[in-house]
Assembly symmetry: C3
Homo-oligomer: 99 residues x 3
Amino acid sequence: MILKQRKLVTIVIESSLARRLEQDLLACGAKGFTSSAAHGTGPRNLRASDIEGGNVRIESVVNNEVLELILEKLKLDYFPHYALSCWVSQVEVVRDDRY
Amino acid sequence: MILKQRKLVTIVIESSLARRLEQDLLACGAKGFTSSAAHGTGPRNLRASDIEGGNVRIESVVNNEVLELILEKLKLDYFPHYALSCWVSQVEVVRDDRY
Amino acid sequence: MILKQRKLVTIVIESSLARRLEQDLLACGAKGFTSSAAHGTGPRNLRASDIEGGNVRIESVVNNEVLELILEKLKLDYFPHYALSCWVSQVEVVRDDRY
């Protein structure tokens, strides 16, 4: 089956910011997102209370242009203020009109 | 460590269809799957009620032959009827007899 | 935006072992992890009771050296004893000092 190239961007953020970030993803042009409850720790939040704290893992399949807009948004409005994690991977999709 | 190439297929589907899809993945030859509760939105379900609705995020590491069978199954029995999301990525595994 | 290459290691393990594995990831040099509740089945646990059992899906973005240490740890202390799943994928990050 012929598959089309897209990018999967995954962001882990504290629960209180999840809804705002989801809306920002859509505003950047993402056609959808998937969110799951998560917990974890990162280099900036190693205290025990943070390990227990609730995070949300948000992922979205996007094209390169939308990815660039999302990363710029994160760099401007999120990275300087919040302890979120973000990574990007190459994925393939069957129906490229959906992403 | 020597790693072997496999494919990771990730599918997000409404909760009511998750069990059926999990069984279809195994029937296609997947040796296992991992499912997590999720919520989200996509190009076909942008209504507020859907955003709150429960989805399941199902993933499975498979070889190329099984991947092809899964994508054919989705194309035939799921994509025309349901608002699922699906993407595929390249992964590596240590123990290739498990996948 | 310039992105840096890292590895994403994903491990699915029974809930009772999750905290131990999370600590082992940090001990291997991972700077953080993200964990989500999951269920599923694999080649070694196809009984109905296992399908219902609780798993945890743990993921961590690491560099190649830390990845190697994690895989060695899994090979030595986990793979021979437990029914975990593990796969590795290539990812890109914006802020490489965090991973």
